[in-house]
Point group: C2
Chain length 82, copies 2
Amino acid sequence: MNFTVAINVMPLKDLLDPQGKAVLGGLQNLGLKSVQDVRIGKRITLQVEAANEQEAKKIAEEAATKLLANQVMEHFEISILQ
Amino acid sequence: MNFTVAINVMPLKDLLDPQGKAVLGGLQNLGLKSVQDVRIGKRITLQVEAANEQEAKKIAEEAATKLLANQVMEHFEISILQ
């Protein structure tokens, strides 16, 4: 079966996110003063051929650990979309 | 009230995603042959001060439309995290 798996890779809470800070400044310049913090990460969707959801998640986890996320600076979460 | 709003910005389905193609190649070199397609976008989380969820979503939508997403090449979706 074919699964669509989403991996969200976000900077760790304790780390600075300069890209997010820059966007926050941009939003405030646009008049969106009620935005108080911005953090920017990646969202990766994979099409995975797997026997079941567990296996699809396991493959996505391997992809995230080995290639997509740098776990020193980022954390990731995985969800099955369909 | 303070809301955490997530905005997922992904390349449109009909467009090529060279970054995704490169990552797909990388995953296959790592032995993850069951991954068939990869698309890479952005995930942005905002801390928004708003009276209710509707208002928080509206602010996020304005942020996405005006700054975060290029709607010629990308589509976005918004969700409230808490």
